[in-house]
Symmetry: C2
Amino acid sequence: MTSAGPFAFRVEARAGEARAARFETPHGAVSTPAFMPVGTRASVKGVRPDELRALGTEMVLCNTYHLALRPGSERVAELGGLHRFMGWDGPILTDSGGYQIFSLQALTAVDEDGATLRSVVDGAAVRFTPEIVMRLERELGADVVMALDHCPADPVDRAQVADATARTHRWLERCARAWREAGGVAGGQALFGIVQGGAFDDLRAQSVEAVTAHDLPGYAIGGVSVGEDRVAMRRAVAAAAPRLPGDRPRYLMGVGTPLDLFEAVLAGVDLFDCVTPTRHGRNHQAFTWEGRLNLRNARFERDAAPLEEGCDCPACTRFSRAYLRHLCQAGEMLAAVLLTQHNLRFFHRCMAEMRAAVVAGRLEELRARIERAQGRGAAAE
Amino acid sequence: MTSAGPFAFRVEARAGEARAARFETPHGAVSTPAFMPVGTRASVKGVRPDELRALGTEMVLCNTYHLALRPGSERVAELGGLHRFMGWDGPILTDSGGYQIFSLQALTAVDEDGATLRSVVDGAAVRFTPEIVMRLERELGADVVMALDHCPADPVDRAQVADATARTHRWLERCARAWREAGGVAGGQALFGIVQGGAFDDLRAQSVEAVTAHDLPGYAIGGVSVGEDRVAMRRAVAAAAPRLPGDRPRYLMGVGTPLDLFEAVLAGVDLFDCVTPTRHGRNHQAFTWEGRLNLRNARFERDAAPLEEGCDCPACTRFSRAYLRHLCQAGEMLAAVLLTQHNLRFFHRCMAEMRAAVVAGRLEELRARIERAQGRGAAAE
């Protein structure tokens, strides 16, 4: 166990590299492995915070870049910080804008000091440096704040990856300094450093070394959900996760499907975020233990069964597949709301199953179920 | 009191023409005056049935034309009827498609036997006759089914209004026959006839006479929310409502704003439906006792107050105007969901105030509050 101010990380069980743990924050504890729904602009699309809580959410992710643009981090601070602003009193993690340096690269210029991005709101230039990002994240007031990183555009271009990874390390140095100057963990925020290194095992290992040279409350693996195939992703996670300190939370950024989560848990990862359940929910896709269902499929026209027998979500306890299909076909907003809630509940149930399997020492026995859920099984066709 | 099979209408208090009553249906009772949220395609946009119930909804309206096209009335019947299909166990009213004859008139051909409309789903021809509509509504299975009416395109063209109104009466004859043949109220459905007559007091009075010549469980006033001004609308309601039998529910179709509802209650109307609260909610507008608020207005940027002090809706009990404004500005789905719920709660609170004022015999004392709510008061600018 590591206790760093209000942040404690208690490993409760291990199974190989996998662990079941409890991560304490100033806004409550998270049982890991845990999935964080994505609330980019301080809202998990279509779902209220009290509904998130009922679905099993313990921690949410918000986006520094988007919130800095609108409504502005100072405005959020004025209104009492992100927890009060969005009405979520549990733990929050803010990413750093590093992902936008990657995703908006056509509109972004990176230099040694930082990056200049374009505002998606009004096209204005937005300057992000390690110091600026640490200030923005302090104003937002999340429990966990991510360091600014430089995610290389092409994970298999070695020169580019080496350059971006080295810059990530130099930026982390500056992030850590700014964070310590603001009080470190005593300031109520845990800084997580981000491992880069692209698709190269040796660069991943070097990055782990450079990042963990800073004594931080947690560490993340970045640059693994940027278009590479699943094999490459697993390899990058396997190269990094087990090398991270065993007594700190490990967060895999932007991943992924149930099987991705399972593989990463096996490699020792504790925390996840991804738009998969919410975005799929808005696109008529429902995750179930029998595979993913496309609710626009004609086979559900007369199907009086719930999305998933035994699921306790607001969609499954009240509505038939036939009705949900009708909502999808008619373009009704309630379709997106209900499928999003179902998918979040499914992801949280997956994580709870993984946690229980770690505690019981039977994680591998879960693989067949996860693979079945992952597939487009018979139910999905 | 009138008791017609499972349908009873009990007037509990009167104040002038206004009444407070209790309308019983096979799926429960409704305290009137009452507002029915519009669930065109078997969903009140963005709101679950259990949430509607918590907001104070007692009865909802669904649309026969849209549901007949998709998913089809036979499909709904197969799946157990509309209540089961949409998960709402309270009373439901289905309109008849008459409004679509009006609103889709460019695509509609009316003849003596019925009307041929175009499907908004696939452009196919859709035939509506009194007999067909009665079958569709029987398959859907609502508690209250509306007769097929012909709403004139121009309420001030006397020849056109006289023609459409006479046709409405002939169609009602056929609707009533089909309904009686299916068992009448013993079949579990109450048929409501619709008064037309446009902007002409004498034609309205004649229409009341023709429609009430049929002994039906309730009567509606149609053709008053079709673009005419408020004065004309009130006049048409005043010409019809007090002439309808005092011991049956009176339903004013498609109206309106809080002040419209108040005026109609004064004239003796009991039931209302309108898209106003839901559509405005999706367009950043919130109703309050201080007037309507446009949440995109910059004045709410730093406003930590709820939409309305003392409101018990999910938006007001959890979120600030500043946060709701942020959701509107960012185009977040949750804005529409929350503002819709607030507006429905507001409309139900308005109706509850009117009912209490009827019981207390102080309806006119409510006028100033309703007019204030109606306005774009200081709070809205």
